[in-house]
């Protein structure tokens, strides 16, 4: 599904700032991989680079999605391929209602991939169901996108989008930070319910606690722009106990 080789990334604005220093990663279809690591190690940058954020520049390396390079694709084209990122800090967009926004997002993807668009009725049904499932306050969701949402509500809204857009590769960028246990369970349920042989997840997190609810197939430790260790779920338990100290020099 996702294959990354020797990925080096710096800031677009300042080429001297290097953040990722040679990442190799292979996420097969249907697997859940966790990226863990200390703050400042490059986890969020990695997630954003996969989604195509223009602030970062790839100096060398490749990113292949289903065997095709996506390096030259803008974020919308990546979304059309089925890549999704749940944001660590979802931005507020005044006056844009989540309903309208998600309908437009689905329509754009349908246009790009030649699929049939959902009718307004079909979409409303799906939207309403998912709003209940994710447990978002129905009044809140009528407001502007993320405006006036609490931290937890913003994260739930990301899960709502995940549920509605049904991506093939979902990147969860610290979706668990700042969440109480209930919200954490919602996020976990969102991921678990969508696990399928055709869908992969990349879960970026600082803490192990989300992984109590989502069992990853592989865990990677990202420190100073490099993956320094890879293992099974037990690796997450280990770093939870002893921290990242042993990796820091």
């Amino acid at each position: 599904m996702l294959k990354i080789s020797d990925l080096h990334v710096g800031l677009t604005a300042d080429n001297n700032v290097k953040i990722l220093k040679g990442i190799d990663l292979d996420v097969p279809s249907g697997e859940v991989h966790a990226i863990m690591g200390p703050n400042g190690g490059g986890k969020s940058t990695f997630a954003n680079v996969l989604m195509g954020r223009p602030d970062y520049q790839i100096t060398t390396g490749t990113i292949e999605f289903k065997g095709e390079s996506i390096l030259d694709l803008p974020p919308d084209a990546r979304a059309h391929l089925g890549i999704f990122m749940a944001f660590q800090y979802p931005v507020e967009i005044p006056g844009v209602r989540p309903f309208q926004f998600l309908k437009a997002a689905l329509d754009s993807r349908a246009d790009a991939t030649g699929q049939k668009k959902l009718s307004a009725r079909e979409f409303t049904k799906r939207f309403d169901e998912k709003v209940v499932q994710v447990g978002i306050n129905a009044n809140l969701i009528k407001r502007s996108l993320n405006e006036g949402f609490s931290g937890g509500e913003k994260k739930r809204n990301e899960i709502l989008q995940l549920e509605i857009l049904q991506p093939v590769l979902a990147i969860m960028d610290e979706t668990d930070s700042g969440l109480d246990v209930d919200a954490l369970k919602i996020v976990a349920e969102g991921v678990n319910s969508q696990r399928s042989p055709d869908r992969s997840f990349l879960i970026v997190t600082h803490y192990q606690r989300l992984l109590n609810y989502i069992k990853p197939d592989r865990v990677h430790i990202l420190v100073d722009g490099k993956i320094v260790e890879t293992g099974g779920p037990e690796l997450a338990v280990k770093v939870e106990k002893s921290g990242y100290k042993e990796y820091l020099t």
């Binding site: 223009p54 602030d55 803008p74 967009i93 006056g95 844009v96 997002a105």
Partner: protein, 489 residues
């Protein structure tokens, strides 16, 4: 001598695709010679078979305007720049000529080419109209073509017709209210309009009647080098309600066209007038050639417990000079102004409102959103006046500016004058840009860069757009999109 049969046919000559409404229509047009004189004023009045008092009123306005012109009193305080206008190089009267050489009495008599033009404009002037629930008065150049739904409205005692028809059929109403809100001495352009106005719309809603449909006028300038000077007068009698819509387009011309309209609203006790405008006059080419000079005076007077609400989406015109205002004369009266003004390429907009509080417990709300792109310049100019009599008046003003690109400008010029210590005023202002974070967020969900921009901008304008009637709101959102094409990305 004035040649009354100076008839000129015109061919369309269009290439620029950017302005979707930029077709011109090849109908025979009757033009009075260029230039302005007492004779022209008399000609216009006689063409319209006006009563003597109206001709006298026009002539007084004309003499006043000549005086202002002599004293060089054309307003120059707005933040707009344009070459000095030659008022003698403009056609002041242009009427489409019907084959029977008279004003059309029914739809069958309207020139088919003109109907086609309205089709292109998307104005359904036929049975479909009833489904849309909009009564349309279409003003093509200077003559009102057809008013749909006249019968249905007249059963309720509602009068909705062209201004000319009103002067003939309802002279007592016209005489009573014409110039009662915007006197002919009001300002340079209002004086000019009072002298030469050719047609426009008239509406009267009787006491206690709620007008069951939106009344709409579609204005279009077609003849090259012609000015358009409509006069609109709307009277809501006691306890009545009306929602009125105004739409504007013009074909593309290399030379600039003058549009100097006057709109007067009279809201008697306990009545409400909602006036919505989508202004999409030709904005000029990308290089700033041509375009409409839109110098418009719009004002309403609200009597006791009456409400006047102006909503405007301004995407067109090379120059916009326009301040729809409310005189809050009666106690407990309410004035509102909701505006989105867009200035792209070389467009210049200087627009805003005046709220003049005279009565007690009067309340006004101003929400102004200015979008600047390209080399556009956008100025909000607002005046809030609290008179000594206006006990417990309140005003809330919100002015937001959005900048796209690095060559445009946004300016905010609020004047506030408070002469009663019980007044409460709030003023909020903000200036922002479309942020990269917002764009990335929307694009990561599959929206293209242009779609993302459009969504952010219409969202930002939503407080104003939601005030528009539904069909108009969709059109407004589309217009913002079309007007900004090429400005983003």
């Amino acid at each position: 001598m004035i040649n009354k049969n100076n008839t000129i046919s015109r061919k369309s000559e269009l290439s620029n695709k950017d302005y979707k409404w930029g077709f011109s229509t090849d109908v025979e047009t009757e033009l009075a010679p260029k230039g302005l004189s007492e004779d022209i004023v008399r000609l216009i009045s006689s063409k319209k078979k006006e009563p003597d008092w109206l001709l006298e009123w026009r002539l007084k306005a004309f003499r006043h305007w000549v005086d202002l012109e002599d004293k060089d009193m054309e307003p120059n305080w707005a933040r707009v720049q344009y070459p000095r206008m030659d008022f003698q190089d403009i056609y002041y009267y242009a009427a489409p000529v019907s084959k029977k050489d008279k004003a059309p009495n029914s739809m069958e008599e309207v020139d088919p080419e003109m109907l086609e033009a309205f089709e292109k404009l998307g104005i359904p002037l036929n049975e479909r109209e009833k489904l849309a629930g909009v009564a349309v008065d279409a003003v093509f150049d200077s003559v009102s073509i057809a008013t749909t739904f006249g019968e249905k409205l007249s059963e309720m005692g509602i009068i909705f017709c062209s201004f000319t028809e009103a002067t003939q059929k309802h002279p007592e109403l016209v005489k009573k209210y014409l110039g009662s809100v915007v006197p002919y001495t009001d300002n340079f352009y209002a004086s000019l309009n009072s002298a030469v106005f050719s047609d426009g719309s008239f509406a009267y809603i009787p006491p206690g009647v709620k007008c069951p449909m939106e009344l709409m006028t579609y204005f279009r300038i077609n003849t090259e080098g012609s000015g358009q000077f409509e006069r609109t007068l709307i009277i809501a009698d006691k306890g009545s309600y009306v929602s009125y819509l105004e739409g504007c387009t013009a074909p593309m011309r290399k030379t600039s066209q003058l549009h100097a309209a006057v709109v007067e609203l009279v809201a008697l006790d306990d009545s409400e007038i909602k006036y919505s405008t989508i202004q999409n006059w030709f904005p000029g080419t990308k290089d700033g050639e041509g375009g409409v000079y839109n110098f418009v005076t719009k004002r309403g007077r609200a009597e006791s417990s009456a409400k006047i609400s102006w909503t405007q989406v301004e995407t067109g015109s090379a120059i916009t000079w326009k301040y729809p205002s409310v005189i809050l004369k009666g106690d407990n009266s309410v004035g509102e102004f909701f505006s989105v003004a867009l200035a792209n390429n070389h467009q210049q907009a200087d627009t805003g409102t005046k709220m003049i509080h005279i009565g007690r417990n009067t309340k006004s709300t101003i929400v102004s959103k200015g979008i600047s792109a390209g080399k556009g310049s956008n100025t909000y100019r607002g005046g809030v006046q609290i008179m000594p009599t206006a006990e417990n008046a309140t005003n809330h003003t919100q002015c937001d500016s959005l900048l796209i690109g690095d060559q445009c400008g946004a300016h905010t010029v609020p004047y506030i004058q408070v002469r009663n210590p019980s007044a409460k005023l709030e003023h909020e202002a903000s200036t922002s840009k479309v942020s990269d974070d917002q764009l990335f967020y929307l694009m990561s969900r599959g929206l293209s860069e242009e779609e993302a921009h459009h969504m952010i901008i219409t969202g930002w304008s939503r407080d104003v757009i939601k005030e528009l009637p539904f069909e108009f709101a969709i059109e407004a959102s589309q217009l913002l999109k079309v007007s900004l094409e090429g400005a983003v990305g």
